[in-house]
């Protein structure tokens, strides 16, 4: 189990990373915008604190928190968001596909619910080759009505795969309220497939860590998948385009109430102030360095735009004869 200060470091890093990234969207360094994770940090921090370095995660379009919490280098992560050659994915993935396979991060995925089946296959293949690692797949409440995710619940339970399904229920599928899109209950879906499910306070990093540890122990022991529904709240936009478009799907009162429990503040209260100050300073220095590195890094060579398309090195024809 991670120490309180370690969990604090993770949630604080994610928070400040996201704030920095939003600034860089505004200044134009990051193209295409991002899906900010602000408010949901306890989920990534708590779950990943329960994992070993060789465990694997798959992530979502709102993936920065997962990628950072699982141990990707924030410096190369920010460079990836800026589309630089030095980024985690050499500038080929960006915010929605950031991956660091060496850290067990099989990548963010831009199709809602799509990564779970990939996670299940990774879990199966790992077990088949004698590894005792577990695989966590993150998804939002919006994913629970995607057929492929429900198919994966069946497959994972049927084969008792070491997969942990983590649903970040922030109450909204983009602008649509869970109650307006989802019949039945979220944990009821897991239950229907024989997967034990828990609902957890997703604003509290320690509560999430505790629940995740139980699921991880179980999965690693060969007792099959588990499901965590983490109740959380997205403080910022679905995507940074909302900063200019400003769609109205939540009231100000509702947002204020949602922000009243802040995962960074909750964890900060458990860490002595002197320790916190030191962590905060280290994070600011790290992010300053990351931003300088990203902005100073070269853009990828245009001649290599389709590098990595084929592992075999195949080159297709150019677009003009």
């Amino acid at each position: 189990m991670a120490e309180p200060a370690d969990l604090y470091r993770t949630v604080r890093l994610i928070r400040r990373f996201e704030q920095r990234a939003i600034e860089m969207v505004r200044s134009g360094v990051i193209a295409g915008g991002i899906h900010p994770y602000i408010g949901e940090e306890a989920v990534a921090a708590g779950v990943c604190a329960a994992l070993r370095p060789d465990d694997v995660i798959t992530s979502t379009h709102r993936g920065h928190g997962h990628v950072l919490a699982k141990g990707a280098d924030p410096v190369r992560m920010l460079a990836e968001l800026a589309g630089r050659a030095t980024g985690l994915n050499s500038g080929r993935g960006g915010s929605m596909h950031a991956a660091d396979v060496s850290a067990g991060i099989y990548g963010a995925n831009a199709i809602v619910g799509a990564a779970a089946a990939i996670a299940a296959g990774a879990a199966w293949s790992g077990r088949r080759t004698g590894l005792d690692r577990v695989v966590v797949t993150f998804f939002g409440d919006g994913a629970v009505n995607q057929g492929v995710l429900l198919e994966t619940f069946n497959l994972a339970s049927l084969r008792r795969l070491p997969v942990i399904f983590v649903c970040e229920n922030n109450g909204f599928a983009t602008s649509m309220r869970t109650a307006d899109t989802t019949a039945g209950t979220i944990t009821g879906r897991a239950g229907a497939f024989g997967i034990p499910a828990l609902t957890v306070d997703g604003m509290d990093p320690e509560a999430v860590q505790q629940a995740a540890s139980g699921a991880v122990t179980r999965a690693r022991a060969g007792d099959g998948p588990a499901f965590l529904e983490c109740l959380t709240y997205r403080f910022d936009a679905h995507h940074t385009w909302e900063h200019s478009v400003r769609p109205r799907y939540r009231t100000d009162e509702e947002v204020t109430a949602g922000k009243s429990r802040d995962p960074v503040a909750i964890q900060a209260a458990r860490v002595p102030e002197a320790v916190r100050s030191r962590i905060d300073e280290e994070i600011e220095e790290l992010l300053d360095r990351a931003q300088r590195f990203a902005e100073a890094s070269p853009e990828p060579e245009v001649s290599g735009a389709l590098d990595y398309l084929y592992a075999s090195g195949l080159r297709g024809r150019e677009g003009i004869a």
Partner: protein
């Protein structure tokens, strides 16, 4: 010499690769009992951890294979019905195919998708009779359509050994082909290399999959009138453009016979590339399914929307005569 059927060739290739490499496994519906016959004997020989029956959840098990491949396995995913590819287009075109580029080369996705009966089986109607190889060539998934048992063996072996996703279409119209072959000579056939089945000097016919055999039959009929060269690309993506170029240098006349719907079918790509870059002394022709074809059930209707030997013969004669 022993006789090798197309189906047995696929079966032998799977068994040989599973024997050679413990990472190779087969996933799909009814693969244990081998409903399609191509996995016959594999469950008994390799066990249920390598020959894995899947629930009827094509989208999940297609991406499951992607995850397994990224984690060191080399899955072969069998689909009994070609139209299932529409259901899993997201999982193949949008996930497996893009994974390497999007991660900046951090992963490889060595998955083979095997269709042991693609195209029309006559009487299987609208949702079991598609032949969507052109779609996969269009998005850039390596796409293989072997015409003969020996090529089916060799191309499936190469597909399994390839580090990228490869889709192997076994046309229903070729599935009953048999040939005499010394089994010790079976070998991998490289992806992207075509094959001239019959040399000729007047017209090059590019024939895809089972239509190679129709093209050879028509070439026989025209013997003495038109000298037809039958070029089988074998792999549609990457296509053997150099092989086609060499053939057209000899003939300068081109007909393509392709079991795709006409708009954006691979036949159109062959004609376009030949027109842009190769030696053509007359306008080329293609014989395809009609635009937007959905195969109707009744036998004569089903056959009416597939390319026929009569259409091919007419196209060859027209191209051969024009100046």
């Amino acid at each position: 010499m022993p006789i090798l059927s197309y189906q047995k060739a696929l079966n032998r290739a799977l068994a040989a690769e599973m024997e050679r490499d413990p990472a190779v496994c087969v996933l799909g519906e009814d693969v244990g009992i081998a409903v399609s016959n191509v996995t016959s004997g594999l469950l008994k020989r390799f066990g249920p951890e390598r020959v894995v029956d899947m629930p009827i959840s094509e989208q999940a098990f297609t991406s499951f294979a992607t995850g397994a491949a990224v984690s060191g396995s080399r899955p072969v995913v069998e689909f009994q019905i070609p139209s299932l590819l529409f259901l899993v287009f997201e999982q193949i075109a949008n996930q497996a195919h893009k994974f390497s580029l999007m991660t900046g080369g951090q992963v490889t996705v060595p998955v083979t998708y095997l269709l042991p009966s693609s195209g029309s089986r006559v009487g299987w109607a609208g949702q079991h009779s598609d032949h969507p190889y052109s779609l996969f060539a269009h998005v850039g998934v390596k796409t293989v359509v072997p015409a003969t048992p020996v090529d089916a063996y060799g191309l499936l072996v190469s597909a399994i050994r390839d580090d990228d996703p490869v889709i192997v279409f076994g046309p229903a119209g070729a599935m009953t082909r048999r040939e005499d072959v010394d089994f010790t000579t079976l070998a991998p056939v490289p992806l992207g290399v075509g094959r001239v089945h019959r040399p000729g000097t007047d017209v090059t016919v590019v024939a895809v999959g089972h239509l190679v055999h129709d093209a050879l039959a028509v070439a026989d009929e025209l013997e003495g009138t038109v000298s037809v060269e039958v070029f089988d690309p074998r792999t549609l993506y990457p296509f053997d453009w150099a092989g086609l170029d060499a053939s057209l240098r000899r003939t300068g006349r081109l007909v393509v016979v392709d079991d795709s719907n006409r708009t954006c079918g691979i036949g159109g790509e062959v004609l376009a590339t030949a027109a842009e870059q190769m030696r053509l002394i007359t306008p080329p022709k293609r014989v395809t399914r009609p635009d937007g074809a959905v195969l109707p059930f009744a036998r004569e209707l089903d056959l009416a929307v597939q390319p026929t030997r009569g259409q091919l013969r007419t196209a060859i004669e027209t191209v051969a005569k024009s100046q």
